[in-house]
């Protein structure tokens, strides 16, 4: 296959940046999207051009490090991570546009690499159960109905990639934040800090500059892990019931 790639190049966070067009030939259908970029980068290096920088690590769809806004969609045309996208999803002669995640709270570091540490700070605001090492009771002393555990697991599968933010016209982080709030609100272990958690995580999300949710559902449609938008509804319930009966008031 031969492809035309329009790739966003930006030297650093202060550079204005712009698209540069490259031709990728000898692309095989079995290559992953990132392997296609690896091959391009080796060619660029041999020609003395700084390779295209992009984030990636596990290449198994689980670490959440890879990103890329491909042809107007986060992680490209399939509901999967970019690292799991293969070139058989494209056809010979196609032009592919590759951009970084676009969101105020995710500033571009270089080329296609963005800074997602805002997500870490949201978790630091309360995305945990306060239990010190060593103080836990026997694991089976906390029975949890299977359907509840399954629901919690559905929410816990979030990989923190940020596709939900990139997909949202308001760059809202509601899906990400609600996934963690839901997981812990569903489980008995999360009950003690349930209210403060919802209040603090939502406050941090707003402080980071993420937008509001207007229920377009783009986040759910683009989430590579299928995190459901019902988590946002649950988070809103958690948040409102927390503010009317706050533990900290």
């Amino acid at each position: 296959m031969k492809l035309t790639l329009k790739i966003w190049r930006q030297k650093n966070s202060t550079d204005k940046g712009g698209f540069v067009t490259y031709v990728a030939d000898h692309v095989s259908k079995d290559m992953s999207f990132l392997e296609m970029l690896d091959v391009l980068n080796d060619q660029l290096t041999e020609r003395g051009v700084d390779p295209v920088h992009f984030d990636h690590d596990c290449r198994e769809g689980i670490c959440g490090m890879c990103s890329l806004y491909i042809n107007g969609k986060p992680h490209g045309p399939l509901q999967t991570t970019t690292c799991q996208l293969h070139m058989r999803s494209f056809s010979d002669g196609e032009t592919i546009t590759i951009e970084p995640w676009r969101a105020k709270a995710f500033p571009v570091v270089k080329d296609l690499v963005v800074n997602r540490s805002a997500f870490d700070r949201i978790i630091q605001a309360g995305g945990y159960v306060s239990v010190n090492t060593g103080g836990a009771p026997d694991a089976n002393e906390i029975p949890i109905p299977k359907n509840v555990a399954d629901l919690a697991m559905d929410a816990a599968q979030c990989i923190g990639c940020g596709a939900c933010v990139a997909a949202c016209k308001n760059a809202s982080a509601m899906l990400f934040t609600s996934a963690k709030i839901s997981q812990l609100a569903l489980l008995p272990q999360g009950q003690v800090e349930r209210k403060t958690r919802a209040e603090k995580m939502v406050a941090q999300m707003d402080a980071e500059g993420f937008g509001a949710c207007t229920n377009t559902g783009a986040c759910e449609a683009e989430c590579p892990k299928g995190i459901s938008i019902t988590n946002i509804a649950r988070m809103n319930r958690e948040y409102f019931s927390a503010v009317v009966s706050s533990d900290t008031m």
Partner: protein
């Protein structure tokens, strides 16, 4: 030089309890006067950083990823072992200990392994308390499965994403301490070297991957939780960024490197599809619980298959060779990883391999689907089947999967004593970065167990014991040694940038990987290893004269990051070959063709090789010195592993 493993005296089951009692304690009010550096934020690093901060120490945590949550522990699929015996099927701490020692082919320390089995039960309690959503039965209690050659069901799991859930649990504990101000986080920061002053580890030199700034950090103790070195093979199931640099630099500063040739080749990975391949994807071992491994019984049929003239489903039952079931009737498809991998290689070497490259065997689910229904199989393995389809374009519900072994885990690593301290006082190694618990072969679902055992339950005691013997005064970062090492690091970066050769870094990495895979992989020979040593030395020379690293230090520079890591892999590769050459026996993942039983099984030599091979760095261009730690077995009897 004699290596003192510091194994406590007394009966096996009482060693750890006694040791904890005899360890010195740091006064609670003094803990905040001690700084601890933790490098790496996977299961071992995140759990250690969080637990130490909870105790009151001041912790700095470093990772090269953009967030601690991305460490490669996250990719572990299958599960975590613990001797809970919730299933009433005969499990016990002693049985988990015994299975691990035997599975490791008797090349691990009894005391360490017993402690691992002992604390395993507390890990599950801790994780559940954090809100880790393990799989549950309808009654609300935890579910277990049998995994990777174990005859009891002791594996806890969270769908096919156990590593993810455990890591997110440890990451949440870490995040809580960041919020408390007890942990300072340094993401996108890579450790470049270790600072040793008066024989003790006192800090590290790092590079900020965004700005390129080379910085020094001082502390009373340094914990390396930096994972394994499987990427020396280029193609492995490790994440792209996984590397040996932190451990290797520590090695060059005095930490011995133990059993480097013990690498684990995992039997169930998606086969290589072409030269562009950047990494290999593991298909969880749990698949072997329901999948049957086979190849065509004759070369003619295999040939037709490879040419695409027939499909797997066209092959009649009598023309299929279920070689694991045939060779190992009692364990069948569930033999340990090294045995399964070697057998796959063996049938492929005989021309029975099934994909275009001839390097693949089938893993077939049609029997399980007929027996249990598609829905049940989907519940168990749905996400794995989906992943397989995504990568290969084939539907494993319809056609058997194709699998082939791939490098997955490294049992070798920095030598540590019972306290997990390396030969450099104050420097610790945890998790996959150390060598200690898995001997020559790791059992499935034991890596997660070890990472969390080390971080949550071992190091908080043993680091305290070391710190209690130091005066609670700040480490002097103006000591000239910090400046000296920093300058060495800067010089090396400049050297890499100035070579300005013609080939990108991956060109050298791929070649190194091929040498390692062919000669120091699933089967090794004296001739092949000797050739490999010469080839690696030549490749190293070529790298340092012809690699092309783009751009500058003062920016995000992924080719510089890679070059720095590959330079270390080139040195490690040679040591792995030396280690494989000197170990004139076969054990676990180390299979020397010269040493096998008449029916092709690994032939150990307990009389001459029941030791840990620890290597001491002597200087640039010099052969490393071998130092042996004899393994003493007081509780188990060494036997030939048999899975027949």
């Amino acid at each position: 030089m004699i290596l003192d493993s510091k194994i406590p005296a007394g009966p096996l089951a009482e060693k750890w309890t006694n040791h904890k009692f005899s360890s010195k304690l740091v006064n609670p009010a003094n803990k905040r006067k001690y700084d601890v550096i933790v490098v790496g934020t996977g299961l071992a690093g995140a759990s250690a950083a969080a637990s130490l901060a909870e105790l009151g120490y001041i912790v700095k945590a470093f990772c090269f990823q953009d967030s601690p949550r991305r460490a490669h522990s996250i990719a572990a699929q299958g599960g975590i072992n613990a001797a809970k015996n919730y299933q009433n099927d005969g499990d016990s701490i002693y049985r988990l200990f015994y299975d691990t020692i035997k599975g490791g082919d008797y090349r691990a320390r009894e005391a360490n392994v017993y402690r691992l089995a002992e604390v395993s039960v507390k890990i599950i309690d801790q994780c559940v308390a954090q809100g880790v959503p393990f799989a549950r039965e309808y009654g609300g209690l935890l579910a277990n499965r049998s995994f990777g050659g174990a005859q009891v069901s002791r594996t806890f799991y969270a769908r096919g994403q156990t590593g993810q859930q455990l890591l997110l649990g440890a990451y949440s504990a870490l995040s809580r301490q960041v919020a408390n101000g007890k942990v300072k986080l340094y993401p996108r920061t890579e450790m470049m070297d270790l600072v040793v002053i008066d024989g003790h580890a006192k800090g590290i030199v790092t590079r900020n991957l965004i700005t390129g700034a080379v910085e020094t950090h001082a502390a009373h103790a340094v914990l390396l939780c930096t994972g394994g070195y499987g990427n020396v093979f280029f193609l492995s199931t490790n994440a792209m960024g996984s590397n040996v640099t932190a451990a290797w630099r520590a090695h060059k500063r005095g930490a011995f490197f133990a059993n480097p040739c013990f690498t684990q080749i995992h039997p169930t990975c998606i086969p290589v599809s072409g030269d562009h391949q950047s990494k290999l994807t593991l298909m969880s071992e749990s698949l072997r619980n329901d999948g049957r491994v086979w190849v065509p019984a004759s070369q003619e049929i295999a040939e037709k298959l490879r040419k695409g003239q027939i499909k797997a489903n066209d092959i009649k039952e009598e023309d299929r060779d279920y070689f694991l079931e045939r060779n190992y009737p009692s364990f069948g498809n569930l033999v340990p990883r090294d045995v399964a991998s070697r057998n796959a290689k063996y049938v492929c070497d005989q021309g029975l391999g099934v994909n275009e490259t001839g390097e693949a065997v089938f893993l077939d689910f049609r029997y399980a689907i007929t027996r249990d229904t598609r829905e049940i199989i989907e519940q168990k393995y749905g996400n794995l089947f989906e992943m397989y389809k995504q990568i290969t374009g084939e539907d494993p519900y319809e056609m058997p999967m194709m699998i082939y072994p791939a490098v997955h885990y490294t049992m070798g690593g920095l030598w540590v004593d019972y306290n997990l301290m390396t030969t450099v006082p104050g420097l610790y190694a945890l998790g996959e970065a150390n060598f200690s618990e898995h001997g020559a072969n790791r059992l499935g679902a034991s890596a997660l167990m070890q990472g969390l055992a080390d971080g949550y339950f071992v190091v908080p005691y043993t680091v305290g014991d070391y710190l209690a013997q130091l005066a609670p005064k700040q480490v002097d970062e103006t000591h000239p040694e910090f400046a000296r090492i920093k300058e060495e690091v800067q010089n090396r970066i400049n050297m890499l940038l100035q070579i300005n050769g013609t080939k990108p870094v991956d060109y050298f990495h791929r070649r190194l990987g091929k040498i390692m895979w062919n000669e120091c992989g699933m089967a090794r020979t004296i001739k092949g290893l000797k050739g490999a040593k010469a080839e690696i030395q030549a490749l190293k020379k070529e790298f340092w004269s012809n690699v092309k690293v783009m751009a500058t230090n003062e920016e995000l520079n992924q080719s510089l990051e890679k070059a720095n890591r590959v330079a270390d892999f080139l040195e490690l590769g040679e040591l792995m070959v030396d280690d494989a050459l000197h170990r004139n026996e076969s054990c676990g993942g180390h299979f020397r063709e010269e040493y096998q039983t008449p029916d092709g099984e690994a032939l150990r030599d307990d009389e001459n090789f029941a030791y840990v091979a620890a290597w001491k760095y002597l200087g640039e261009g010099q052969e490393e010195e071998l130092v042996k730690e004899e393994l003493v077995f007081e509780n188990v009897k060494l036997t030939q592993r048999s899975y027949k």
